[in-house]
Symmetry: C2
Subunit: 317 residues, 2 copies
């Protein structure tokens, strides 16, 4: 009898989960709120209840090989979520152990971007690659690095915090870390909004964005304006792409990946973002790296990608 | 009968080589000029002649397991030296194959900084570590990255060009690459000299360095002046350490190493360089990395370290 695995992707707002077969089909999936659970215990209770319903549909717990979990600040070595700023549960949460006790199944936990990288390697744009970097451009900037066909975890499980590398010394302040000029302060949804506000404030040039109320100014709105030919909106992406390209150039000179896979909301900006990103990547690497590295956008179905990535951890156990 | 390996370290000026036993003793060693050989063939002939004398001393070619070679721009996948700016031989040199044909022994070639990293892992400061970064601070800045106990080569063998990562956008021009603001433009022997010149030119403050002729101004002279309390000389190291610390912070957030091992001439500047380096590393990493990463100076005997590193490649074959 075929066996299946469970993938769970914990985000700050919601948690998605699903049953995955051994060729990467998400057979059944569902979602619960993360945010509403102030206590991790009630979260686990609800996850158990909802997930059990899906597990029953594929023949019960006996058919499940294990549970893979991607979570912000998830640590593969300890199975803990450690000091995740965007989750309701503070401090160190031994989530893998808690899930193992509740479900009586093997559990493997890692950070969400690492899980996404494994998903791309098994089912997505990185199939067959041994060296690539996965960058998630969402509310924040996450990353997973694969070298020699393995995820780079570092000595403590925290490798791949590329969103926090400094690109512009003394640049824009990151409110979460207090550090200045990191990639995440520019190449995230929040970063794009802040760049738009800065550009609008720095001149009186006309722009479609001037009519948008402050709290509605987001990367989608900027993209729509750019699509209509708005110059300031296009400059927002030019600047974002410049910073991202500079950052990617440094990453390339670190691990010389075959490809960089981009994932997440910002990639919907398409060539408005990708064109300047490619240009500035090429302009900032030395000759031996030029015109070698592919920049690919993940083609996994967005709703499935996170579940697939997390589930892929289990096949690797 | 015990077997031995040969380590060869090819530099722009000279090539060192030696016979190494399986616990890392350099039994016999010697050196020839690289520079004087305009043709790689005459270089190989002289290397064969001088190395054969050493091999005879340990009982002949039958006792030799193989030859490990560290060379600038050496590529482990192809066995070639590719476009090395500091060597007399231009273009692509299939050195591993040429040596194999000449010596009739297995040959493994990689870049010099990768070889040094393997040497540190087997015999030096990185013994027992699975995740560390080796940085060589010499005329240039080289690097070797070990993660999961393996060297990171990247998809094409060129991973670990950390000296060329951009630390100061639009910063000091690198004459070899044309890129601005890379680590090597600051944290190398040349970089220290240039920083000294810039600081001397920017004020009329008294300094011991003002009496030094331009062509004699090097990192040793700056160190001697700093040791005598010279303020400008100390500022040269403060600035160099700031750039190096900022760079190391980015590297830490990439692969989360247990330690960074520093090697090469600049490390002789001791705490004048290491203290600001540590401070700026800590100031530029996010919280989960703070007060975790060791900065260690290689304690391998300098004359042996390069040979040991190259030889260690063979035990790994």
């Amino acid at each position: 009898m075929d066996s299946f695995v469970v993938g769970v992707d914990i985000g700050g707002t919601g948690t998605k989960f699903g049953i995955v077969d051994n060729v990467g089909n998400v057979l059944f999936s569902s979602e619960i709120s993360t945010k509403k659970h102030e206590q991790v215990h009630t979260f686990i209770d609800e996850l158990h209840e909802k997930l059990s319903e899906l597990i029953d549909k594929v023949g019960g717990f006996g058919r499940i090989k294990g549970i893979g979990v991607g979570a912000p600040n998830g640590n593969v070595y300890t199975g803990n979520i450690e000091y995740a700023p965007n989750l309701p549960w503070k401090g160190v949460i031994p989530l893998a152990k808690m899930l193992q006790d509740k479900f009586r199944l093997p559990v493997k936990l890692t950070n969400d971007a690492n899980a996404a990288a494994v998903g791309e390697m098994m089912y997505g744009a990185a199939q067959g690659m041994k060296d690539f970097i996965m960058i998630t451009l969402g509310t924040g900037v996450g990353s997973g690095i694969v070298a020699n066909g393995q995820l780079i975890y570092g000595h403590d499980g925290f490798a791949g915090e590329l969103g926090h590398t400094t690109i512009i010394p003394e640049g824009r302040m990151h409110p979460g870390t207090g550090k200045k000029g990191c990639l995440e302060s520019y190449a995230s949804a929040t970063g794009v909004t802040n760049t738009a506000i800065e550009l609008l404030a720095s001149s009186e040039r006309p722009s479609l964005l001037r009519g948008v109320p402050y709290e509605q100014l987001n990367s989608k709105v900027v993209f729509d304006a750019a699509s209509k030919g708005d110059e300031i909106a296009k400059e927002v992406f030019d600047f974002t792409g410049e910073i991202l390209g500079r950052a990617l150039a440094n990453f390339v000179m670190f691990s010389s990946p075959e490809a960089i896979i981009l994932f997440g909301g910002l990639t919907k900006s398409g060539d408005f973002l990708l064109k300047p990103t490619r240009e500035h990547l090429e302009a900032n690497v030395i000759q031996i790296f030029q015109n070698k590295v592919k920049i690919l956008v993940s083609h996994l179905k967005e709703s499935d990608a996170a579940i697939l990535g997390a589930s892929a951890l289990v096949w690797d156990m």
